[in-house]
Amino acid sequence: MDPVTLRVMANALRAVAEEMEAAMVRAAHSPNITERRDCSTALFDAAGRMVVQSASIPVHLGAMPEAVAAVIARGAAPPEVWIVNDPYRGGTHLPDLTLVSPVSLDGTVAGYAVTRAHHADVGGMSPGSMPAGSRELVQEGLVLPPVRLVGADGAPTDILDVILANSRTPAEREGDLRAQLAAHRLAQARLEEVAGRYTPPAVAHAMAELLAYAERRTRAEIAGMPDGRYTAEEFLEGDGVTDAPLAIRVAVEISGDRMRVDFAGTDPAGPGNCNCPIAVTRSAVYFVVRCATDPDIPASAGAFAPVEVVAPEGSLVAATPPSAVAGGNVETSSRIVDAVFAALGQVVPLPAQGQGTMNNLTLGGNGFTYYETLGGGQGASPDGDGPSAVHVAMSNTRNTPVEVLEVAYPLRVEAHRVRRGSGGAGLHRGGDGVERRVRALVDMEASVIAERRARGPRGAAGGGDGAPGRTTVNGVTVPAKWRGRLAAGDVLGLETPGGGGWGAAPG
């Protein structure tokens, strides 16, 4: 394909994925999607390879292909829309509901549209479906293997009723699912328009060329990294059931234009919920690859083709049923990033460790569930200070505005500020974390899944560590993974970690 058509088609397809996301965000009901934008969209080719993805949430990067493969295996046909959240059959963790629909051009399946959104409640043992301390998957919510949400007649199936009956907030779920379906309708319409401008075979050809293009560019970047084997290890601070550290060990091997990332030696899956299905582990590795290469390369199957991820079956990073996974997607994924950064950072300029946690807070009670993640300090890099008060790795969700939050929920935010001085010292300072205190106005259940409460993010090249985070209830520190009840008037406080510094501080 000529260099011009390649670029024109790349733009056209990217525009479809981005418009899908914009439509979903605007039509959705929950603050989790509309304000925080915890969602992604993508287009896949007919063979199930990701061609373009809207740039939003890195943890969705590598995890969508498994969902599409699972749906293709079931023989999906237009105008069906399939839904899946089972982490062992294409999902990540249960609140992420992934919809997959075949897109047809001239009567044949030309590709697949995918939307993934974090739903605020899919049932399970605690409101918000992010229970600290869960021990098996079924405690975390309704498990959906790939099934039809929209049937051959184009109408919603009975599965919708099952989903709504299993959520504490059915109206919000229905609104959010409608928004996802609107994005799928848009994908069909827009791809038809693109095919109308360039013909369906041209679209198929362009998809293949785009994958080859991204692969070519990624290989060229990897070839520029020094060959060798680089290792690192990281420890999770318990998993909500055990307080013992859980080890993640990684070896990154660069050989010519290929990269192999091997997690041999990683601990077996833990008894709690910080286990990762392999799809999440792949996402974490792909995120590091994107940070270490030119981010202008499209996020596609081609970009990840030169990267091989291997992990021991049944380990913390390649969990098997019935291990619980709610925290793996959000916390272990961050720790995997830290491990791979530490390994690859030995030969590629990468920043010091950032906060390394999403500080997941879930509150729920009579008729409401509220989920929030909080930003913190980014690690400093060789050429500057780390940014403060941002998400640093696998998430990039926004916060819920205080005014929106207080209109929607029986909560009052007492303070929200930058945690000054929490970034690690150094030639370049780590970014600062944040502090947020929330008062419950009615009795409610609370769950916090966090990391970096014992040891702060490490500095690099002689830089100091960032300050560890802290979770409190009425001023009293609680564990990194904590679940309990708040009485009306109780105040839950989150102080998020600062980023590591880079280079020894002068003088």
Partner: protein, 648 residues
């Protein structure tokens, strides 16, 4: 006859638009249009403005005191924001929330470039003072502590600031605390400008409201200085007091503009959109897309029935600015955009631009990288001494050499590479046109593209092809359309307020609506009022703005309009679902002066491919399109074989 109103018939109306390179004037007097172009004076734009007026008055042979109105569009505010030339300002916030500007919405600046920072807050954290108070959704929770106000005022008095922004939680619904703090600041700090969030933007979401208020505060002293100089120069020259174009497409008097700088941040692009809207209305085009392509950027907007689309806000240099404004989308693609080959072998255009210096290779000012302009020169679409208004001579050899180097890297023929550069650039601009039409639920295929700016008419037909439109209109005044928009613009004032009222309890809307209406009447006595409401389904978070035809009308009509809008935008409506009103919007408008309809010309149609020279621009008519020039010099191009096509 151009220029409405009895007074304006006898007297002239002048509009002056300041661009990056040129300051343009358009004067309508006695039904005739006169134009002038002078270099922009970067040190003091007001000097260039008065020069331009003098020049156009001379051309028309009339005296300054024969002008009825003097309308002005400017880029002072945009540039100050883009270049961080703002007045030192302080922020007063609710205790515990002083970092609101720094915390933003917590998403990082770049997903994968982890070291990248957002632009620093307009007001740094060491110039923030907190006051003890708290309001919630239902009203006051913690009364305003007078001692904390005194302490905040004393702290700010010790800072060397020229402005203060006040943004307290829930002030959009409960503004009393902000007003008390504002009064204390004004009393203690004469000469310091104070912006209150409840005045600037009484809408929910504290970060966006604080950001808008901070921009308003820090920009107002800068803008006020400029407007003061302009007013003085106009007075010395015997001109009427200038009226200023706002981001919402309406004019405001000098004092109103000087009160709140945030109103006029997008003054320049609004003038262009209004000019195009005037052209569309005069030509009887119900659906038009404006396409204003210059050297470094391209502005597009949607026009329906002569009215530009509107939006509730934008982001400039990383700072949200949430105010009623024309929905003008800017992409960084222009004649100066540089083409390059990426490491994967794809042809890319922009976002880097050669700017005015060195400019495209063809300018001969030392530029060696191929630009969109160079590609046009290679293909012979921009030729002759008059191609760029005669101001710049184009060197085809230099253009060809630059494009040839890139063609070599990509393994392409030179002409194919030049065509490719134009295709890639066109697609980027077509994407912007889709954004303001398709993504807003409007099908652009039945519309006309109104092309202006130095490069607009050169690219418009191919861009129209890309979006499926079959007509392009390149107005004779394409080079000064923003100035013409100022001449034709009316006055407009917007007022908004977040109310959060379920439509089932519509009676609760009457109080706030009556206040907004009274305020709008006071803003512009005798003006026509329009009412709109941002609505959503109960449970949704984002709202759609729906026109509420008659003020105080039946809520059922509003609900029906909302269901229809939702269907148009998202492909579905949920008629049984309850609806709520988030924000009320009241606009007061006095109409401007319509342009006369085009007069048919006597020339034969011109079949593409052909380049038609215009005043200050070139209109490129590709194969498959046919152009007709009217008596006024405007070029109307239609795609062959479509309804309304020209028959040669």
């Amino acid at each position: 006859m151009i220029g409405g109103g009895a007074a304006a018939d006898r007297l002239g109306v002048v509009g002056v638009d300041v661009g990056g390179t040129f300051t343009d004037a358009a004067l309508v007097a006695g039904g005739r249009l006169f134009t002038a172009k002078v270099p922009t004076r970067p040190d003091d734009q007001s000097a260039g403005v008065v020069d331009a007026v003098a020049r156009v008055l001379e051309a028309a042979g009339i005296a300054p005191n024969a002008l009825a109105r003097f309308a002005h569009g400017m880029t002072v505010g945009t540039n100050a924001l883009l270049e961080d030339r703002l007045a030192p300002a302080a922020l007063v916030a609710t205790e515990g929330f002083g970092d609101v500007l720094e915390l933003r919405r917590q998403d990082r600046a770049h997903l994968y470039r982890l070291g990248e920072h957002h632009p620093p807050p307009v007001i740094p954290h060491d110039r923030v003072a907190e006051v003890r108070e708290r309001c919630g959704p239902d009203g006051v929770i913690v009364p305003l502590d007078p001692a904390s106000v005194d302490a905040a005022v004393a702290r700010i008095a010790g800072m060397d600031v020229r402005a203060v922004a006040v943004c307290l939680l829930f002030a959009f619904a409960h503004p009393d605390h902000e007003r008390t703090v504002g009064a204390a600041l004004r009393a203690a700090l004469p000469g310091v400008h104070v912006s209150i969030s409840a005045d600037v933007l009484p809408e929910i979401r504290e970060y966006e409201r604080a950001s808008t208020t901070a921009v308003d505060a820090a920009l107002t002293p800068v803008l006020r200085g400029y407007l003061h100089r302009l007013g003085a120069r106009a007075g010395e020259a015997g001109l009427p007091a200038p009226e200023i174009m706002q981001s919402n497409g309406g004019l405001i008097d000098l004092a109103g503009a000087a009160d709140h700088a945030s109103r006029t941040v997008l003054s320049g692009p609004a003038g262009g959109a209004m000019g195009a809207a005037g052209i569309a209305a005069a030509a009887g085009i119900p659906l038009a897309l404006t396409f204003d392509m210059g050297g470094t950027s391209c502005d597009v907007a949607l026009i329906r029935d002569g009215e530009p689309g509107r939006t509730g806000g934008t982001v400039i240099n990383g700072r949200p600015l949430h105010l009623p404004m024309l929905d003008v989308v800017t992409v960084s693609a222009g004649g100066g955009s540089i083409a390059w080959a990426d490491s994967g072998g794809a042809l890319r255009v922009g976002p880097r631009s050669a700017g005015a210096r060195p400019g495209p290779a063809a300018y001969g000012h030392g530029g060696t990288e191929p630009t969109v302009t160079d590609a046009n020169v290679v293909l012979g679409r921009l030729a002759g001494a008059g191609a760029l208004g005669g101001a710049i001579r184009l060197d085809a050899g230099l253009a060809e050499a630059a494009v040839a180097r890139l063609a070599g890297q990509l393994g392409m023929e030179v002409a194919a590479c030049a065509e490719g550069i134009i295709r890639v650039a066109n697609q980027e601009m077509a994407r912007a046109l889709r954004l303001v039409s398709v993504e807003r639920g409007i099908d652009p295929r039945g519309g006309a593209v109104i092309a202006f700016g130095g490069a607009g008419p050169l690219h418009a037909c191919e861009v129209a092809d890309d979006i499926g439109a079959a007509r392009v209109l390149a107005p004779a005044a394409a080079g000064v359309l923003a100035a013409l928009g100022l001449v034709t613009a009316g006055e407009r004032r917007d007022r908004t307020r977040t109310v959060l009222v379920p439509l089932a309890e519509a009676a609760r809307l009457h109080g706030p609506l009556a206040e907004l209406v009274a305020g709008a009447r006071a803003d512009l006595p005798g003006a026509t009022l329009t009412v709109a409401a941002d609505c959503r389904y109960v449970g949704q978070r984002h709202a759609l703005t729906v026109d509420w035809v008659e003020e105080g009308a039946d809520p059922a009509a509003l609900a029906a309009a909302f269901h229809a809008a939702h269907e148009r935008r998202y492909g579905e409506a949920v008629p049984g679902h309850p609806v709520e009103v988030i924000t009320l919007r009241v606009a007061a408008a006095r109409p401007g002066s319509p342009l006369p309809p085009p007069v048919p010309g006597a020339e034969a149609p011109l079949c593409g491919p052909v380049a038609i020279p215009m005043d200050g621009a070139t209109c490129w008519v590709p194969a498959g399109w046919t152009a007709v020039r009217d008596a006024g010099g405007s070029v109307d191009v239609r795609r062959d074989g479509t309804e309304g096509a020209w028959t040669p």
